[in-house]
């Protein structure tokens, strides 16, 4: 049943968020630290485990796949609900800093991926 897949996803999501929130409390922040990351790990581990056990049926997978494919439309809706006006109306300061910082991040990507990859090859 598809709902089993959705339920597994929901469980991983909530449990991961819980871990993220606990980690937030632990380091004295009132926010979620890496909850989505924990949830993703949980889903990857539990999905592979259930698949090995042969519990996962085609339909269960479809329940998860549906939500993973809803991801793009959700991103579009998210873009449409951003405070774009604030970004534009704060004048050039915000725009200049925002653009330069992001570009710096872009150009650090090849540098840091290289460090990691050479380490892995050793």
């Amino acid at each position: 049943m598809k709902i089993y897949g959705v339920a597994l996803l929901a469980f991983c999501f909530l449990f991961g968020k819980l871990l993220g929130n606990y980690l937030g409390v632990l380091i004295d922040l009132k926010s979620d630290v890496g909850g989505v990351g924990f949830a993703m790990l949980l889903l990857m581990i539990s999905y592979t485990y259930f698949k090995k056990k042969g519990v996962v049926k085609e339909l269960t997978t479809q329940g998860i796949l549906f939500w993973s494919s809803m991801y793009l439309p959700i991103i579009v809706a998210m873009a449409a609900t951003q405070n774009v006006n604030a970004a534009v109306s704060q004048g050039p300061i915000a725009v200049v800093i925002g653009i330069i910082v992001t570009l710096c991040g872009f150009f650090l990507v090849p540098l840091i991926s290289k460090i990691g990859q050479s380490k892995n090859q050793k």
Binding site: F13, G16, K17, G24, I27, L29, S31, D32, V33, G34, G35, V36, G37, A39, M40, L41, M44, T48, T61, L65, W67, S68, M70, Y71, L72, P73, I74, I75, V76, A77, M78, A79, A80, T81, Q82, N83, V84, A86, A87, Q90, I93, V95, V96, I97, G98, I99, V101, T102, L103, C104, G105, F106, L108, V109, P110, I112, S113, G116, Q117, N120
Partner: protein, 247 residues
Amino acid sequence: MELVYKLIDKNGLVFAFLVVGIIMYLSFLISEKLFRKKIPGVALAVFVGLLLALLGSKKGIADIPLFSGMALLGGSMLRDFSVVATAMGADLSKIKQAGWAGIVGLFSGVFFSFFVGVLLAFLLGYRDIESLTTIGAGACTYIVGPITGAAVGAGSDVIAISIAIGVVKTIVATIGTPLIAKTIGLDNPHSALVFGGLIGTTSGVTAGLAATDPKLVPYGAFTATFYTGLGCLLCPSVFYFALKAFL
């Protein structure tokens, strides 16, 4: 007509499905016919979304009552839920393999964003440490900015700027990623993990990667999800005190 409004008001989320579906359809049509797929349909759709957001203010188009359902569809609950679902197709061994690079990317991402932000704010004439810290934090993400600003007691105008910087970063990442992906070698899970850690804004990273290659989304999202937390941890504490010691 009033009946229609009432109906849509009651079924906002369902109406949002319809609206987004139409946006996606038209964007893919334009991408195919007008740009011959040179500009990906997804990137176009996200861009249309950003344009529509101009019609409202704080919550973008969702400020218009008719479109309030968009806030639910594009809110953090469904976003995170579907992002987690993408992990099913991700390869755990690849994340393990890139683990070290991901961590380096994460720390250097927060570090560089903050100090580049501070440096630029300094050049633009800000001198007090509270404002500099808040603007540097805003250069991380639009969540780190206001949290840090509140923690160090910065003015509300500076906090507004820090949020705006974070939003600009999200927009630039969304539009810029597919354009620059080839140049920076962003075509495999390894570099996507590093990318997520460096840019850090979950919405920008995921939207940008989706427009580049949807297969990379789970890897970028994985590291990006730790970024805001790390930023909230470092900016109002270690970085703030470091600035205080130097200036």
